[in-house]
């Protein structure tokens, strides 16, 4: 297990009233891991912290192109000025690790050679705000920067103007590509979850353990920064609004009577058709194909094919869901009975469900 050591960097932590050196006797400070990577970027490019909190920025230069980097936290709005000042240091720069003197610099690491690490211990400013950090090695600062959100909530990745847009893409699964399928732990789902990005900012969570759609939301696709930065324990986050959520205990498809037992699901995988997933699974041995896509009206669409149902098919439409529902499933065939769609075996062979907005 990694045991971070808290070695204060005496020479380089430029103390200001807001930033004071801490000794090793203090209780455990929050550790924030930040790597310097190929393509001049910080990974992750941003973090949240509490005003006045003790933190350790655990820095590691993982740039495989043999670049040196540092980490300089500056006062709000001073990023460009510090980058320019570092350049003007010219020959003196290296001796100063390219950190210009002055009160605009709140904390700075050493210049780290590839493979080198530094635990930079500091106290976050008491004044809430967005504090930029930047690599001041000449030529890097224009693209290699990020932001410390101190007492300020981070916006969605792609709406964050305080980080380079290329850095944001790295953590949105698929880098902004739509349609896109990403298997990952998801909130409000079983652990074998599949996140699907669809055109029109629509997104869905499909549960491969239970073989059913769990919810649909509109907005940013999943931000996997925290999940990917660690051992997989943290769940990804997502932006926007849930349009529809299946009830936790709903049986998505039942054969025969309304009281028939829930069929046993077996997931068979998926194919990609122009990037849209077509899930294949069996329910008590009956094969189902379910394509998740978007229809012409821009609604999430499930194209269902249940080829060999011997009896009536009952599809749960999730209208008993708790909480606010902004959309409902409408079908091309079958008959509605409460929250269920009933289909004859012939109708079930091919039908479409569209998630249409409910007019308030």
């Amino acid at each position: 297990m990694p045991r971070p050591c808290f070695i204060p960097c005496l020479a380089l932590l430029l103390a200001t009233p807001a930033f004071s050196q801490k000794t090793a006797e203090q209780p455990k400070p929050q550790t924030i891991k930040i790597a310097m990577r190929d393509g001049l970027r910080f990974d992750p490019p941003r973090f949240e912290g509490k005003p006045g909190a003790d933190v350790v920025i655990s820095l590691e230069n993982l740039d495989s192109t043999d670049q040196m980097h540092n980490f300089v936290l500056v006062k709000p709005g001073k990023r460009d000025a510090i980058v320019d000042a570092a350049l003007l240091l010219a020959e003196k720069g290296l001796a100063l690790q390219f950190v210009p003197p002055g009160s605009d610099v709140l904390a700075a690491s050493k210049l780290l050679a590839p493979e080198k690490k530094e635990p930079l211990r500091l106290t976050l400013p008491k004044e809430p705000g967005v504090y930029p950090f930047v690599c001041t090695f000449p030529g890097h600062g224009l693209v290699m920067y990020g932001a410390a959100y101190v007492g300020v909530k981070m916006p969605l990745l792609r709406q964050d103007n305080n980080i380079p847009s290329t850095a944001a893409q790295t953590f949105i699964a698929g880098g902004g590509k739509r349609p896109f399928v990403q298997r990952i732990f998801m909130p409000d789902s079983g652990p074998a979850a599949i996140a699907i990005a669809l055109p029109g900012d629509l997104n869905a969570c499909w549960d491969a353990g239970q073989c059913r759609l769990r919810y649909v939301w509109k907005g940013e696709f999943i931000d996997a920064t925290r999940n990917w930065a660690g051992n997989g324990n943290e769940l990804p986050t997502m932006g926007g609004k849930r349009l529809w959520t299946a009830p936790v205990d709903e049986v998505a498809i039942r054969f025969g009577k309304a009281t028939a037992a829930a069929p046993r699901p077996k997931f068979l995988g998926y194919t990609l058709e122009q990037g849209f997933p077509i899930f294949r699974y069996t329910l008590d041995g009956v094969e189902v194909r379910e394509k998740i896509a978007v229809d012409e009206a821009g609604n999430v669409m499930r194209e269902m094919k249940i080829a060999q149902a011997a009896v009536e098919v009952r599809v749960g439409l999730g209208s008993n869901s708790k909480g606010k529902i902004y959309a409902a499933w409408n079908s091309t065939s079958g008959t509605r009975e409460g929250g269920t769609l009933n289909l004859t075996p012939e109708e079930a062979a091919a039908f479409k469900l569209a998630l249409e907005p409910i007019k308030p």
Binding site: M1, P2, K33, D38, G39, L40, L62, S64, T65, D66, Q67, M68, L87, A90, E91, G93, L94, A113, P114, E115, F137, P138, G139, H140, Q169, T170, A173, G174, G175, F180, V181, Q182, R183, I184, F185, S189, G190, P191, A192, A208, G209, A224, W228, A229, G230, N231, G232, N233, V248, F267, L268, G269, Y270, T271, L272
Partner: protein, 513 residues
């Protein structure tokens, strides 16, 4: 550091253009003892991919397939040093196996998947679930490893236990075992019950198991249990299934097992998924009872000096390039920059053997997770998953020079026979040159263990073969279930060379008659 600084100073004083200093600071590797024998390089990684390597395998034409931390699979063409992405969107894939040009098996957290390129455009369009009939609690530590091809054509995967570091998801996949702490307490009283569930736990099916799967049908056979975090699966040249496991609870140090069908390999949590289990909480069984059930490790990797977290197991190919090591078994390691060799033998029906470093060079970096040979190059994929490790893919190419090294070590009735890559110096018959210590590790629930019952190795006699390539040493007595760790740094070859890897640790379970 000095060199880097002077390099960058040079670039600054030479051309102080705005971006002048952004040029690469070429870092020359420090010469090390391994450099004359192995040339170590690296591959450039594809753009926009987090370069933590979950799995590596070679295509028949020498291309290399790799899976990455964020779920992509890429194929590297060494001829023009380019990557082509094959698949994406997988959930923490930690191993892959190439079937053919258009089909790759990959073990991701939720399942064993066949990735197929059905239309021949070089990109996977079909993600087929081959096997997912195992439990997932949502606990982060339930990693899944493999697949590795068995000699019979089937594939072997392994499933980690969950960690007490976290509870389970509200929804799990598979039945939740009712043995031990009731499920609802995982949600309502986690802080109080976490100590009771065990440091590592298996409350959904087959966690802590090694499973054999028929790739044609997906039919799975739970093969053996008793594992904790079995990252390394492989076969030796004789076709034995080898699995290694990480030091921790019930593992005083990291271990390697020769795995037989139906075996139990020490960590009790997984026992409750044995057919016909009697319902007792496995970790509360008396250690004496567990001791009777288990097969001990064939090889202990002493923590600190050998391996702290062993990984992929594979064989060195039987090609000329690898010289005398051809056909031997190697193991990667996460916490130090090394690949180890494992020398196994069966004595009186019991597998045991030795381990020693093969290549131990800072240039390799840490986190040496996956190893694959292709066209006389060994590719090394690195990862860390937030523990100790590194990233990217390194390459190892033999230079053709063979070091002075222990080639083999076998047990004899009264000691060991060492075989070397070169004849020994004449003075090697001196017993005082053959030093070391022996010690053991207890079988206990605690996390890790110090080396106990430690004593110096006393060598009575040394007899050299006529060609002086092998030596038989004899000891006055045996301490059973001890590691005999020799420090052969006082030995020399007839050529004057010092041994490249002087430490070798043999785990003694049986002695031949």
């Amino acid at each position: 550091m000095n060199r880097l600084l002077s390099n960058s100073l040079l670039s600054i004083s030479l051309g102080w253009a705005l971006f002048g200093a952004a040029q690469s600071l070429a870092q020359t590797a420090q010469p090390d003892a391994y450099a004359p024998f192995y040339s170590i390089g690296k591959l450039m990684m594809p753009a926009g991919v987090a370069p933590e390597i979950g799995g590596l395998d070679a295509l028949p034409d020498g291309r290399i397939a790799a899976c990455f931390h964020h779920g992509q699979v890429g194929i590297y063409q060494p001829k023009d040093k380019t990557w082509k992405m094959f698949a994406e969107g997988l959930h923490e894939p930690l191993g892959l196996l190439v079937e053919d040009e258009r089909s790759i098996l990959v073990m991701q957290r939720p399942e064993l998947t066949r990735l197929r390129d059905t239309d021949g455009d070089g990109v996977c369009d079909s993600y087929e679930t081959l096997w997912d009939s195992f439990g997932m609690s949502g606990n982060y530590h339930e990693f899944a490893f493999g697949p590795v091809r068995a000699p019979d054509g089937k594939v072997v995967v392994s499933l980690n236990l969950a960690s007490q570091g976290e509870t389970v998801f509200k929804e799990v996949r598979g039945p939740f075992s009712d043995i031990g702490v009731p499920r609802e307490k995982f949600y309502t009283e986690w802080k109080h019950v976490k100590k009771e569930v065990g440091r590592m736990y298996s409350r959904v099916p087959l966690r802590g198991w090694v499973v054999k799967i028929d790739p044609a049908t997906g039919a799975a056979e739970p093969w053996a249990c008793g594992f904790r975090s079995p990252d390394g699966i492989g076969f030796d040249a004789a076709g034995n299934l080898l699995v290694d496991d990480n030091q921790g609870d019930w593992r005083g140090t990291s271990e390697l097992f020769v795995v037989k069908r139906g075996g139990f390999y020490g960590h009790p949590a997984s026992l409750e998924w044995r057919q016909g289990w009697d319902g007792r909480v496995p970790m509360k069984l008396p250690v004496e009872e567990l001791e009777k059930l288990r097969t001990p490790a064939a090889v202990w990797f002493p923590h600190g000096h050998f391996a702290n977290s062993p990984t992929q197991i594979t064989q060195i190919p039987k090609t000329k390039a690898w010289g005398p090591y051809a056909g031997q078994t190697i193991v990667g390691e996460m916490n130090s920059p090394k690949i180890l060799r494992v020398l196994l033998e069966e004595v009186d029906g019991v597998w045991q053997g030795a381990t020693l470093n093969w290549i131990n060079s800072e240039t390799l970096k840490r986190g040496l997770h996956r190893l694959v040979f292709a066209h006389d190059v060994l590719y090394v994929g690195r990862t860390h998953l937030s523990w100790v490790g590194s990233e990217g893919i390194g390459t190892i190419t033999p230079t053709g020079k063979v070091p002075f090294d222990v080639l083999d070590m076998q047990i004899t009735p009264k000691g060991f026979r060492f075989t070397f890559t070169e004849p020994l110096a004449e003075n090697s018959t001196a017993a005082k040159l053959w030093t070391g210590e022996h010690y053991t590790y207890p079988y206990h629930e605690d996390y890790d263990s110090p080396q106990i019952a430690k004593d110096e190795i006393e060598v009575e006699t040394v007899t050299l073969s006529v060609d002086r390539r092998s030596a038989v040493i004899e000891l006055p007595e045996w301490s059973m279930n001890h590691i005999y760790e020799f420090h052969l740094d006082k030995l020399h070859a007839a050529s004057g060379a010092e041994p490249l890897n002087p430490r070798i640790a043999y785990t003694v379970r049986r002695t031949p008659q």
